[in-house]
Amino acid sequence: MAAEAERRAAWRASLAVALAVSAYGISFGALAVAAGLDILQTCVLSLVMFSGGSQFALIGVIASGGTAAGPAAIAGAALLGLRNGLYAIRVSPIIGPGWPKRLLAGHLTIDESTAVATAQPTLESQRIGFWATGALIYVGWNLTTLLGAVLGDQLGDVRQWGLDAAAAAAFLGLLWPRLTALQPIAVAVGAAVVATALIPVLPQGVPVLVAALVAVVVGLTNLFGVRPAEELDETGERP
């Protein structure tokens, strides 16, 4: 019965996250059309790129710089997409072997599917969390992208509906459960300070990546961390 409860909890988390993310797909669709993309181009981004942060970064640069800023837009989207590669390493053992499955999982590897999967207690519920969240968001995000693109003109200013604030709140919802100890809190604060300082001086998308270096420094040195005995590696040496 405990396993059944865990399965249900994984489904519930997937559905809640998928609904919330899909809701701001409308904001992406509308913003993309406002940036100068047509409806088909907007939908191709959600179908193929399928990574909200990268998509918002891409259309943000195109909106301000046009096609002349193409290389910067591509670089920004790719750099923001680097974290998906990291997520892939993390969820790879959850997905298990088999290339067709791993290819499909690769496409669905995003903030939300990784976050919901890794938050579940057992391998089975982790698998449910990953696939349910990834598939539900894929369907929802693409439908609402289309809806947002079509409605773009009617909606007018998407900010009027608070859709930009919804995106920020969604990222906060992903961060919140990770702030369980001093170390992640210190990293979150440090990264926020670095990003704030760098946004005005670096091209869009780059401050986020520089801020990630805060985590690399803290992670490698275990600054603000605890060094319990179980942190010793197999050789008995501290890493």
């Binding site: 399928f50 990574s51 290819l103 919804a166 919140w176 801020a211 992670g219």
Partner: protein
């Protein structure tokens, strides 16, 4: 570059990065230091993205109705309010503030 070239190239790159991650042996994250760094990297990226989404405006910073909306969201997350309701509340907060003339 045309918009189509930008869209396709960027999309393929982002997709390729995801797939490449599955070629990396999971053992790479087996050491406590690597696992800790990976987890903290996610924390740092999310935190930086929150700043960008809350106060970013192109290559600049602005304080507008998004900030109170995110503060409201933080308070609701602290109270363990479900994700969807928090997102709706944050959007509503920004929308209402803007309806009353806030930027």
């Amino acid at each position: 570059m045309t918009i189509w070239q930008i869209i396709l190239l960027a999309s393929i790159l982002v997709l390729a990065i995801k797939l490449l991650g599955y070629l990396v042996p999971p053992k790479l994250l087996a050491s406590p230091r690597a696992a800790r760094t990976a987890e903290l990297t996610t924390v740092a990226l999310l935190s930086a993205l929150i700043v960008v989404q809350t106060a970013g405006i192109g290559q600049g910073l602005v304080l507008d109705a998004r900030l109170p909306a995110v503060v409201v969201a933080a308070a609701l997350f602290a109270l363990k309010v479900p994700f969807v309701l928090v997102i709706i509340a944050a959007a509503a907060c920004a929308a209402v503030l803007r309806a009353y003339g806030w930027s």
